[in-house]
Amino acid sequence: MKIPSLNTDAKGDSYFTEVESAAPGSTFVGPGGPGIRYIDAECWQIWEMQAGHFQDFKPNHAPQCLAIMAGKLAVTASVGETRSFARGDMLLLQDLHGKGHALRAYGVEPCTVFLLTMKQIMAPAYSD
């Protein structure tokens, strides 16, 4: 399973890439079984934005994983690409310096996010 991730390039621009949530080719067999990629987390929060909420470009203060519980969220990278996320979507905000990203909640209902702050940036590939 691939998870979209917003990272920063050498010029300070944010761009979308992907990280792999499990070892390539593996199938899940149970907690602790092969293929599971455990990511250390610091805390969880519930974050709610009303439709129309806008946050201008800024880098994220810590690597975070977002899982959308309700509503719709548009995330714009500084290279110009905008991606939309809705119920059941996950994304990683890992642009910790540089120009950062912009956020906009849109649609007809609040955007509710299950927000996880990670202890470190999640590398694109599984390396355990």
Binding site: I36, G52, H53, A67, M69, G88, M90, F114
Partner: protein, 147 residues
Amino acid sequence: MEKGTIMKILSIELDANWRSTLGVIEVPLHKVSETEAISKKQPAVHWYAMELTPDTELQRTDPNYPFSGGTFEAHNGDVPHFNMQLTGYLDSTLQDGSTARYAPGDLHYQRAMALHHSHLRSPVVNRHLLVSVPGSPTDPSPLKVIG
């Protein structure tokens, strides 16, 4: 931060006889601005994503229900954790007789020691985000939410 609304999250709880039952966890949100609110930071241990292939479209009461362990199989969820449905849907049956269906975007909390039966009736792959919180697999204490 100014107090805002309360976010309610479904949870698999335990009754006085340690039988699993459906409950609700309340998470206070604090206003950041007119258009934004957030809860206080709550401790977590780790997260992982998992993918499960659909098992059967038969009902649990069907005599041919093929799930390993059968109709009355139940398991607990090891360490206390959150489970968020990403794709597909899951029917979770508890010892109080209730069944709750979780669809993409639905988040629920699984208390340690709470038995449940998971039926992956979805015709598409089930993807889940699991987030472990501090606690042991044998400690049935309820989740403490920092308000």
